[in-house]
């Protein structure tokens, strides 16, 4: 695969942004991304892809509302009903077809506009079998976390360590919405939402926009001194039956990673991957995803996390950006936040939180409850 990220732009991530519209936010991120790539969207970008879910937006057929602020009027535009990484993968494929040489990807969250977030998530449950109990939809995470802890022997404390780490990491990320100095006790003593899941195990929602410019090998070399290459991609969905999934492991992530690693020629991820940005919508999900990505043995992520293996200065840093827990849960855009962090790190632009001598990274996404869908991308500073 010979597609690179040649430009990134983003807003800061904030718990609420009542002063500007999603269009104005997108415009800001797009201007920055195009400036970073040195392109004029009206001439140089051939195709535009947005990741959006109509129910998060409160608009039907949201595709129609994006062209103006991306410079995409009267150009090829499409919306991917998935997370930002799926949009990026589709952009990669568009370039691979040879049809386009420069493509823009956008993902955003205007979560603060949603007044009934639990209602929106509940609407994703099977209406006949799974909506009858009038319970907050994060019960699905409670069920999954219980079975994961039960089968692997992972403890609540080890999940809490993820929260402490990601909040701490976010302190060095100026874009992060929810950086904090938090103790294990702060997490352990926060109230239960759906036992064993506590309030602090849950990433808080945030607003933000991320735009990226992708280019073919030839164009990437012209446009950028530091292109970040997509080495492998994968995506995967498990069954929608929450009653018959593998709760103890993120199978969708394992299979998506298998595909991406094969494409990228990664045989030993623990040795070949320098750092990872994984989905941490809930604390235990980070641990599940670390295991699914083969960054440790199954059931070992909690213990290793507690020992600092995945800390910023650990053996294999995970979520140096702060992840959803620290940077903010950007809904479909957190997937691109993960990619953004990989790009900044691989370009040596991550400032205070820069990981040293990193050449290859992995970004992984999950669409949140009640889904079992996610993507994986392997990125590298070397072609």
């Amino acid at each position: 695969m010979t597609v690179a990220i040649v430009g990134v732009g983003h807003t800061s991530f904030q718990s609420t942004t009542p002063d500007i519209s999603f269009k104005e936010q997108m415009f800001e991120a797009a201007v920055k991304a195009y400036e970073d790539a040195g392109v004029n969207p009206r001439k140089d970008i051939a195709s535009f892809l947005t990741a959006a879910e109509d129910y998060y937006e409160g608009y039907s057929i949201f595709d129609e509302f994006v062209p103006d602020q991306l410079g995409a009027v009267l150009r090829p535009v499409c919306t991917i009903g998935g997370d930002g990484l799926l949009a990026l993968i589709n952009g990669v494929m568009q370039i691979e077809t040879g049809l386009f040489d420069v493509v823009a990807i956008e993902a955003h969250s205007k979560a603060s506009d949603i007044l009934t977030f639990p209602g929106i998530v509940t609407h994703g449950l099977d209406p006949i079998y799974n909506r009858a109990f009038n319970v907050h939809p994060y019960f699905v995470a409670g069920l999954e976390m219980r079975r994961y802890l039960h089968e692997t022997g992972t403890t609540r404390e080890q999940c809490a360590a993820v929260v402490v780490k990601n909040k701490q990491n976010a302190l060095s990320n100026p874009s992060a919405a929810f950086a904090a100095k938090m103790t294990m006790d702060d997490v352990m003593n926060s109230e239960f939402v759906s036992d064993p899941l506590t309030r602090r195990d849950i990433s808080p929602l945030a607003d933000g926009v991320i735009v990226m410019v992708l280019a073919s090998e030839e164009k990437a070399k012209q446009l950028s001194d530091h292109p970040v290459w997509l080495k492998g991609v994968g995506w995967c969905s498990d069954t929608p039956w929450i009653e018959s999934r593998t709760w103890s492991a993120a199978e969708y992530a394992r299979l998506a990673a298998e595909r991406a690693y094969k494409m990228a020629g990664i045989k030993n991820p623990q040795k070949q991957i320098a750092f990872a940005e994984v989905d941490d919508w809930f604390s235990y999900k980070e641990l599940q995803h670390i295991e699914a990505l083969g960054l440790c043995e199954n059931g070992e992520a909690g213990k290793l996390s507690e020992q600092g293996n995945f800390s910023r200065n650990g053996k294999l840093p995970v979520n140096v950006s702060g992840g959803r827990i620290g940077a903010g849960n950007l809904l479909e855009a957190s997937a691109l936040q993960s990619v953004l962090e990989c790009v900044l790190q691989l370009q040596g632009q991550a400032g205070k939180r820069q990981v040293k001598d990193a050449e290859t990274a992995v970004a992984q996404s999950w669409r949140g409850v009640p889904t079992a869908t996610g993507c994986v991308a392997v990125l590298s500073s070397e072609l």
Binding site: P18, I20, E24, F27, L115, H123, P127
Partner: protein
């Protein structure tokens, strides 16, 4: 019901059947509520409607005046430059006479929907509104019209602060 459907096996259900206890039905209504942030451009536009004025934004590069205002020009892909007030008069760009309301009920008095190109806005940059105080037979593309406003104390910062557009009587 078509012949084809009649041939299919099964039991036809009436509305009464669905209400009765003999059939198994499920009811669900999404709890989907939003508070869309209006943003800079929409906010200014709505605030000015409350003041009885119509405001747009000029892009100095293409020299167009965009009404309602946008903070960026979709053609030039750059930030727009300044607020511009336009008149409450203009010409009908296109119109339609709707005999159905929003719930698809047939209505006796049709709703007259029009796009009006306001004087001072660039050609083809129109606003959507209703026509009123007009003889349906006489509506035509290019017809000069003017805004009829709600009384000042009833305006609330909404597009309905303009009641409708009516024909400008020729002198």
């Amino acid at each position: 019901m078509s012949e084809k459907v009649k041939d299919l096996r099964g039991t036809r259900l009436s509305a009464a059947d669905l209400e009765s206890k003999d059939t198994i039905t499920f009811r669900g209504r999404p709890n989907a509520k939003y508070a869309w942030s209006a943003g800079i451009a929409y906010t200014k536009y709505l605030e000015e409607l409350k003041n009885g004025r119509i405001v747009g934004r000029r892009c100095r590069q293409c020299d167009r005046v965009l009404v309602p205002p946008r903070m960026f020009c979709e053609q030039c892909f750059r930030a727009t430059d300044e607020w511009v007030y336009v008149k409450g008069t203009g010409k009908i760009n296109t119109y339609s006479i709707s005999y159905l309301d929003a719930d698809a009920n047939r209505i006796k008095t049709p709703i007259l929907v029009a796009v009006v190109d306001l004087d001072g806005a660039s050609p083809g940059i129109g606003i959507l509104h209703k026509l009123g105080n007009v003889d349906i037979e006489k509506i035509h593309v290019g017809m000069p019209v003017q805004a009829v406003w709600k009384p000042t104390n009833e305006r609330e910062g909404s597009v309905t602060d303009i009641l409708y557009f009516e024909p400008i009587k020729e002198e």
